[in-house]
Amino acid sequence: MDRIRLTHICLGLFVVLPAFAQIQNQPDDGQWVMPAKNYASTRYSTLAEINASNVRNLRTAFTFSLGTTRGAEAAPLVVNNTMYIVTPFPNNLYALDLTKPGAPVKWVYEPHTNASSQGVACCDVVNRGAAYYNGKIYYNLLDVETVAVDANTGKLIWRTKLGDINNGESITMAPIVAKGKVLVGNSGGEFGVRGWLAGLDADTGKIAWRAYSAGPDKDVLIGPNFKPFYKMDQGTDLGVRTWPPDAWKIGGASAWSWISYDPQLDLFYYGTSNPGPWNPEQRPGDNKWSSTLFARRPDTGEAIWAYQMNPHDLHDYDGVNENVLLDLTVNGQSRKLLAHPDRNGFLYLMDRQTGEIVSAEKFGFTNTSESVDLKTGALRLNTQKQTGFHTVRDACPAPPGVKDWQPSSYSPKTGLLYIPHNNLCYESQGTNANYIAGTPYVGMKVRMYAGPGGNRGVFGAWDPVHAKYVWSINEMFPVWSGALSTAGDIVFYGTMDGWFKAVDAHDGKPLWQFKVGSGIIGQPVAYKGPDGKEYIAILSGVGGWSGAVVSGGLNGVDGTGALGFLNAMSDLGKYTTKGGMLYVFSLP
């Protein structure tokens, strides 16, 4: 049903905009050079050899053990017939030779990441992958470093230290490289860090600029060209004035997740994390620029616009989720948009030139807020669910949000955004967070549990134009893996109990599934092998915040463990064990 309607929309666009290449229609050479596939972050492959009618014949082509037992969240890259994989801590980089049978190791780069950094990783010692650019592989180390490695030889080209684990900083995100700048942000929203995103010279590793998320405008790289759309985000030095004195210095707002880039507008987009501590009573004010989307210039880092989704965040709703860049016709108008499914449960469709919200609808069960006021940009909160020192029960979504880091995929063919996500609620009670540099700064006891329906996860196909689901699939555990859609009209994702699945892109019908060794929290990718065939690759290896119960061997008697996620996941060990492994599939 939706296929027909959506095809109409696509045709309509081509008729209206014949000269325009839509940003979601990226050229595809069959490689996979950055985790999100392209700057628009569509995670869509034009390969169609594997399709809805033959995917049931998929079989393993080869596998590879990562030699690690922590959560494997990275996307494998494929460049010049070589596959690159970054492991969780200790962040080894493997290059596999795809031209040889069984894809043997070509080289491995071992950075000897400082082991103590494992103590400042809030949510398992994960790494979300590398980026390829001009002959080099760029990626981040947990101990707050970025490295550039020669893609052919595995030799280190440069290594830059960007922060200090003794301030609670770490890095888990995958960088992107835009206009010769490697864009890197820190993690540590649970450690009272001062969040930043830096631009490093891709050739030398020298830090060209660093944009802090809080503090005076000059530190945030806010200047005369900064034009936030909404009044609530306008004013000078809001990164200081919306905090109690000096609280912005330890206020979190890290930049630990995805970055998209529009080369035409020359803007890149990313979100900042929750403010610290979680206990909101310790930080009266809007706490800018935490839980905020930023649009910046890659050359200088200069901020062009910002929108704070969750002023004075009450629930650890980081604003870091992916921004998928789309050119769509909405309400008869063709617009340059970004789709941002936020932790707070609203899917924001925004004008990526101006920061204006086009629509913001709930994409999962949410009772902490009512709606988003499109005139003012304000999130209308449910006063019953405001957290603090008192106890609050049945607040939904829980801190990981309706959706956490797990990236969605957009198919220009179906016009749908495929969203892996959570269905969790929680109860909380604030405590007085004591700031000790290098230790957690949270001040909140939390217990999470399944949301309405009892399923803890959902995989759904969202129509961004009409702001509604077309279909969705309930899963027992949070769907903590990324999504991949292909021109073969199929969508791939994995579950925490270890099933790698292909479903029909149009109606979600299950087409194929394969049980891997350990639960999946990785990012599936598609590539064309040296033999011209299409391959699908995924890392298995449970862990991450949701899977720490298994990867960290946690004890479920204490539901407050793992920032309260333990309560919702104590049964995971009955379904999966730990262990990192690459699986690659193809048709016979």
């Binding site: 082991a115 309405p452 960290g552 004890n555 407050t560 793992a562």
Partner: protein
Amino acid sequence: MASLRYSKSAFFAAALLLASCQREKHDIQPAPTRLAIYGDAARQSALRPGGSVKPQPVVTNPYNASGYDISEGQRLYDWYNCSGCHFAGGGGIGPPLIKKEWIYGGEPANLFDTIVKGRPNGMPSWGGRIPEYQIWQIVAYVRSMNGEQPTSATPTRPDTIETNPQNLVNRVPGATK
């Protein structure tokens, strides 16, 4: 050695005679943190090369019998953000502390060592930052989580939001909106 002040029999005698006083007793002469603990209790290996040797002096926790020390330990466990990484013993960033199998040993001297020296995979080193008597109090509290302290001296599990996990798992919240 200060830590050998209490012999085992003295301890049991004290436990028998002064059970009711346990919650109140505390040391008023705190010592500064030492950086190393020696003795059989700090061993982390069952392998003894060359056969067994004469037992080495055992370091016991001078604060392990008092309810006051254990509840102080509980307060300090929160104050120094042990709870931030280990939560109420279930673990998260750090490993669980309610368990039978310790990576670095669960005897009081091992725990003392762990806290003072830190451990390589992310356990901070607290030597010089937490006074020795407080470290022993935290050790007593960590031991109490595992039922390794006299129950008469052990506080109840931390007062947090909801004490019965049965009520929480898979509970479907009322949809207020």
